[in-house]
């Protein structure tokens, strides 16, 4: 399924209607929900941890800080805390992936191999298509199993999505078996209707995930945008029976927010999507806050940041 896509159905896209105020109202309603408590909260936070794409995207990344990141990804929560809640032996508490620039993929793969762990390594591209296609090819060869792609031709373009579709198809081919996450840069799309349409085009072109933004723009993952994208995913599922994943990125920093995101996904898409292969957080500082929150749940005390291992 991964590399296939059903093709571009412009007729479906042209009929998309999104009512902005209704979406905003829905997003407000979702944010006002009561979050799970006690051990429920702990479990949900752990789930959030397993959905994190632990990210470092700085120009000055070197093998050493990528190595630190990889080690944290393998052991995201201090072992004694996990033991306290009997989760240490379940072997499921790692982050979903480590997310680095293409040039650091080889380093990350090496660190993870050395630790005998098989976390996927996605990467985030840049520049124009002609640059990025070889970049992606390189990353896949270096062992990246998930690729986050930035596309340059965004909705609304003059040709109602065909250029965007073609561009994503190019990436799709070079990605091969690697999972492809398409970054929509929702801040630049203007309207929710465009977000919906762009999501549909990305899915029709064979994306395995659709992602809100690189995490480095001014407008990042907001709840209303998430509602729109989740509904596009639902629409695509109803039409094709294929489940596409969702990755919000940027601005998600607190444990509280991560819980709201999980609840939003559960409400809009259902429990099936609460798994790392269909939902990811793109975040760098979120893990620290979640670990701190879990530590509070377990010990009843608020930990200082230095008490918990650095990423």
């Amino acid at each position: 399924q991964s590399s296939a896509g059903p093709g571009l159905y412009l007729e479906v896209i042209s009929r998309v209607r999104v009512n902005t105020q209704a979406v905003q109202k829905r997003a407000q309603h979702l944010q006002a929900q009561k979050i799970p408590r006690k051990q429920f909260q702990t479990a949900w936070l752990l789930k959030a941890v397993t959905c994190i794409d632990l990210t470092t995207l700085s120009g000055d990344d070197t093998p050493s800080n990528v190595h630190r990141l990889c080690m944290k990804a393998i052991q995201p929560i201090r072992a004694d805390l996990l033991e306290e809640i009997h989760m240490h032996d379940k072997g499921c508490v790692t982050t979903a992936a480590v997310c680095v620039y293409p040039s650091r993929v080889a380093d990350a793969v090496k660190s993870l191999k050395a630790a005998n762990c098989s976390l996927p390594v996605p990467q985030v591209g840049s520049c124009s298509v002609s640059h990025r296609v070889p970049e992606v090819r390189l990353a896949v060869r270096d062992g990246a199993t998930e690729i986050d792609i930035v596309i340059s031709r965004l909705w609304p373009s003059q040709d109602s999505g065909e250029a965007m579709y073609d561009e994503i198809r190019q990436f799709r081919e070079v990605c091969g078996d690697a999972h492809m996450k398409t970054i929509l840069a929702v801040g630049e799309l203007g309207t929710f209707t465009n977000v919906y349409k762009a999501s549909m085009v990305a899915m029709m072109a064979g994306s395995d995930f659709i992602k809100t933004s690189t995490g480095k723009e001014s407008v990042n993952a907001t709840y209303p945008v998430a509602v729109v994208m989740a509904r596009a995913i639902r629409d695509y599922f109803l039409r094709t029976g294929h489940k596409v994943g969702f990755k919000p990125a940027g601005g998600i920093r607190t444990a509280q927010e991560s819980l709201l995101w999980l609840m939003l996904i559960k409400e809009e898409l259902g429990g099936d999507w609460l798994r790392p292969h269909l939902f990811r957080f793109g975040a760098s500082s979120l893990l620290a806050d979640i670990e701190r929150q879990i530590s509070h749940q377990v010990t009843g005390r608020y930990a200082a940041y230095q008490e918990l291992p650095l990423a």
Binding site: R17, V18, N19, T20, Q21, A22, V23, Q24, K25, R26, H29, K34, P36, R37, K38, Q39, F40, T42, A43, W44, L46, K47, I85, H86, M87, K90, C92, R231, R234, D235, L238, L262, M263, K266, G270, G271, L274
Partner: protein, 790 residues
Amino acid sequence: MAGSTTKTVFDIFQSMESGPAAASSPTTAQAWLEHHSRSLGFFIDEKFVLPADRRSRSLNDGKGGVVCSVACAEEADISQCAASSVSGFKAWSGLSCERRAKVLLKLVSLLGQHTQCVSELCELCDASASPSALVRLLQYYSGWAQLRDTLITGWTPLGVVEVVTSDDCSLYSLMLKVLPALAMGNSVIVVPGWSCGPPALLLAHLFTGAGLPAGALNVLTGCDMTLGAKVAQNPNVSYVTYSGNKQDGVTLCESTAGMGVPVSVSPYIGATCPFIIFESADIDSAVEEVIEAAFKKRKEVNWVLCVQESVYDSVVARLRLRMSGLKCVALLRESDSSLVEAAVQEAQQQGATLVQSSAAPPSRTHYPPTVLCGAAPSSPCVVSPSPGPLLPLMTFRSNSEAVTLGNHSPHGQAASIWTEDLTLALETAKSLSVGSVWVNSHSVFDPCLPVSGHKDSGTCTDGGQEGLYQYLRPSSSTPSLPRSSPASLDYSAFGTETPAPIIPVDLDSAPQSLLQLVGGKTCKSVSGCSMAVRPQEGTATLGYCPYGGRKDVRNAVEAAIKVQPGWMKKTPSVRAQSLYSLAKALEAKMRVVAGSNCIQTSISVEEANAEVDLSVARLNLWAAYCDKVQGGSLPMPKSGSALSFPEALGVVGVILPDKHPLLSMATLLGAAIATGNAVILVPSEKYPLPVLSFIQVLQASDLPAGLVNVITGSRDQLAAAFANHSVIKAVWYWGSAEGCQYLQKTCTRPLKTLKLSCQTEEDWTQSDPALLEELWRNAVQWKSVWIPTA
């Protein structure tokens, strides 16, 4: 959730359940109740009053525990309360507008201090009201209190207003009646149903802290709904208004018939409302909102989902996905569970398919949210909705069919329509005969929206400036009904007398045979009977007019209903021109009409001419009114456009007074048709000649045939015929006290708007603007349309 504490983190990690909700404990409200020893008295004259030997009624929460008990008022309490309200009215109406506004604003800050207590108490009593909604109400009406004398000149408060609510009414709806009444300077007696009882007492207490004079707001509680009528019987009460379910509203109307106190009702609970999804809608949002609207534990209205055929599959697919995980909804009563089961089974037998939450099986207290796909307007689940979280789903083909489906219901409360097409939204909003239209949203309430329930959903307007007039009267008016006790009246025998037989006596004088006007044609009565017309002084027979009955009324309604929608759709300026032409036609026929008035009422020619002149002036005035007074956009505290439209009631039956037969007719006829109604006029039984001569004026004008009908005959008989025709939405009646009592008693199924008067000496020549405005307001119902935007 006994097992929830034993669930390990790993279990939850796998299943991702949300866990039990935090149980809120209403400690503040409990402490307040405890402070009152859990037995609440009445609130009269700034104090809680609990006479020793009163019976009491205990209020239970959902789980069967006793929340508190309230006392049941007796006759002595009612008179004590009414006396206090009279002095409260004196003190309160004597204050300046500014002071009254300040009191309402002061309560906002008091509410802020006691939010916890108010909201917990509301929750305990199931009176559902958010403190922010109450604050908005107070702020809105404080503004009106301040501006009453500036913006509403020529009107004066009524006196003591009684506000009654049913057991299931929300505190918001109660306050939507109480606050405008207070803001206009009335004193209020609240007779709350059980859910609003304790919160109303608490608010009345808080009000005293805000500086409301003693007696301006009193609260009486009772053991059952009969207390409302008992309080209304007190001669100090000037007006009764009701909010709640239909059944109790009807009972209140019936039991107050003949007391001589005007009663209006807003039966907003239990109405059937369409939720229309067009193919141009944001389907995902529409589905989300219908789920939120339809599956509440305490559902105030019964939604019916209407979906355009072309998007039926995608709506149902989304419903299936979204509803699969929904929790079961608690039933209000255990006895409801068998009703719900039966309703679902019946629907299934008739071919409905279910979309149902599979999260938990039904139990005696809970039932899963269920959509009944394939329902039809004739399905029992649509005709007589059962309790519980059931939502019938119907499909429609075209936009006009959606309107037909939405309108084909006795109710006219509200509708929610979903489309991204603005033209379609506005056209649909205009065509639906409901009081509130919510475009791409639902259940939006705000005091700035004027809402009158159309058809069977109400007889008064609440909210907005329009909603204030029910608590005011023109300063120059006098109460139109004398206070009395209901007479023992044989309702089945009312208006069944037979006409006096006409026998040939004096063949030489050969009085003329007069004709009535039905559907634009002059005709005899269906029965063929006639009655003699005699002058005011003397016994000579001036002529024989038709003795119309219910069949004549039926024919007139048929004719009226054919042309009325077209008349209402005409632009106001076109209606104005028609009225001007009517006035002109009257001027042209002045001599004939004045002559008939002379013969009939034995007035001088000059007087008769003067009456025609005044009538012409009145018609011209209404013509001018047509395109000047309109609704407009409303200041909603949210982003979007809120619009209000005055709409015609439909067919109005008018039984004309004896006084000034021509002028009164011109005044009332003009008010009715200027606003887009069709009318059936019944001329004074004694003096029909001027109106009958006016028929030729009507025929000479360019009013559509059938818009104005004239039927002569027995006043009582025709009043009874009006009362028993469901199409007639309003009856304006001048006549006997028995007639008023009869109409109040019988115009309840469906509800009709009544304007009743027993006054015989009304002076129709005075042209106080407020008096005429009151007539105009009686001839319209309001619709508000809310179009939210981002």
